[in-house]
Symmetry: C2
Subunit: 314 residues, 2 copies
């Protein structure tokens, strides 16, 4: 019996700071319904999907709560969970998590077609800075607003109705770090879901990297790490201009050969779908990337023994 | 002062099993001279450049010596070293190494413009098998003929006349393993030289991966790992049909953004060149891939703690 799942990537166009949460949630539900109408059993939403990408703003602590979810689900997002369960569609969604103890994480959940949360992930690779960059209108303050993820990179076996794929989650910048993918690969991952918000250019005008180069980088990281771990990957953007700061699109579904099989064409709300045959992972996992046969961890020591660069002498 | 080096990739067309070593060496010298004539200070040759890719054949132990170098340099290859020193051009070359103790490695050396060996590397990620596959004409017996490399992934600082780039070496299959690149990246590598012999198709007729897909894989691995480690990379093939077994070409020079800046157009002897400005590595090394600021090794444990896959329960 083939182990296959039709997966949808639900790219979102921009969400402005003043957009109401209810209006944004309606967009997620509309995308979910589009994915379900196309036969998808899993819909992947972006990082921090319920709000604008607020880490670009310096916000006082007591004004932050509006961006965070005090539980998952919670009354504000319950309609998405209800609609998904009614459609028997699962989803991945990124959100800002505030725990009962008041801790903050950049998180994502994987929700099954029955509405149960299958797995939670907290972003490990937070970009940006703790302190705001002086004199700049736009910031990247993820290191200020969030703690580093403390759950590692867990993979879980998806439900039988999905073909039981071993499934992992990453969030945005994580996808540029091969270590994150490899820890998932070492769990035999067959499907990696990634939501992201990635700048299309430096909104403060200081950088030469344009949207085309940044989109190329984003795809290259997903394609190569999918290939090197013989896994499907679904990478989904929040895209377009949010309050004067641009975000790349480029949402894509990538096969275990690293080939893009579906790709967004816009910077707006847009659903892409592909049939992911998880048996296609076996070619890579059993031959080129048969880890047991070919990895040589005794020479990988610096990867875990050191954080930064140690240059050779001379 | 700009830190820049014109690098040549000296792709080689096929070398048949019955080709004489002297004729093959003449081809290397001709390629070296072409690179030098185009102003290159470093010429990168393929893996096992002095012979055919002999691990495809089952060869008796006492007939193997002809493929191995008993020292580097040695009289058979000395003309290449002499010509390079006369031209003040350095080179990377892959070769089968037999040590004075009779140990065998798939090795490469980096030779400076003065003819001195700057660094030696022994391939860590040996593909293939120890035992021949029964009933098949073509084999992949690297695990039979070579020991696993025992030098780790050393990077060295290149000479001042090259701009002093921190330089690493990989061999063939190593380039598909992000761990290898990361260990070089953690040494601040600015230039990675890779020679390869990669099958264009299964010569025994058993595999559906064609030359286009395999060439795509080869480039994807080099482009992404160059990007994720903010380094230049020069990947150089032995290409074309060797005694009925096809090898991909696709030799390329890749910038620290993962973009191909020079690329071979043939499956024959062909020189490609590019100017590698090592200061271009700083954008990635200081921002997106500032390892000290952004890596989280406490969550990378499985990469060194386990070799093969451990699937989640359930």
């Amino acid at each position: 019996m083939p182990r296959s799942l039709r997966v949808a990537g639900a790219q979102m166009g921009p969400t402005q700071r003043n957009d109401s949460r209810a209006a944004t949630l309606d967009r997620l539900i509309a995308l979910l319904e589009q994915g379900a109408a196309q036969g998808a059993g899993l819909v992947v939403f972006p990082e921090l999907a319920f709000t604008t990408f607020f880490p670009r703003w310096l916000i006082e602590q007591d004004a932050l709560d509006v961006y965070f979810e005090p539980a998952m689900p919670n009354p504000a997002v319950q309609p998405l969970f209800d609609r998904a369960r009614a459609l028997q569609v699962g989803f991945y969604v990124g959100y800002a998590e505030k725990t009962p103890e008041g801790r903050h994480f950049n998180s994502a959940v994987l929700v099954g077609p029955d509405g149960a949360i299958l797995s939670k992930y907290r972003k490990v690779h937070l970009p940006g800075s703790v302190e705001p960059r002086a004199g700049e209108k736009y910031q990247q303050l993820e290191k200020r607003y969030f703690e580093y993820g403390d759950l590692g990179f867990p993979a879980v076996r998806g439900p039988k109705s999905w073909g039981g794929p071993i499934t992992g989650m990453l969030i945005c910048n994580d996808r540029r770090w091969p270590e994150a993918w490899r820890v998932l690969g070492l769990q035999g991952v067959e499907l990696v879901c990634v939501g992201y918000n990635s700048a299309a250019y430096d909104p403060n005008g200081g950088d030469r990297e344009d949207a085309a180069l940044r989109t190329f980088h984003a795809k290259l990281a997903v394609q190569s790490n999918a290939y090197m771990n013989a896994t499907w990957a679904v990478a989904v953007a929040k895209a377009g201009e949010e309050d004067g700061a641009g975000l790349i699109g480029g949402s894509c579904i990538v096969d275990p050969n690293g080939r893009i099989v579906a790709e967004a064409a816009t910077l707006a709300d847009e659903v892409i779908v592909a049939d992911c045959d998880f048996d296609l992972c076996q070619q890579g996992k059993s031959k080129m990337f048969n880890f047991e046969a070919h990895r040589r961890p005794q020479w990988y020591g610096p990867i875990t023994a050191q954080t930064g660069v140690v240059e050779p002498a001379g």
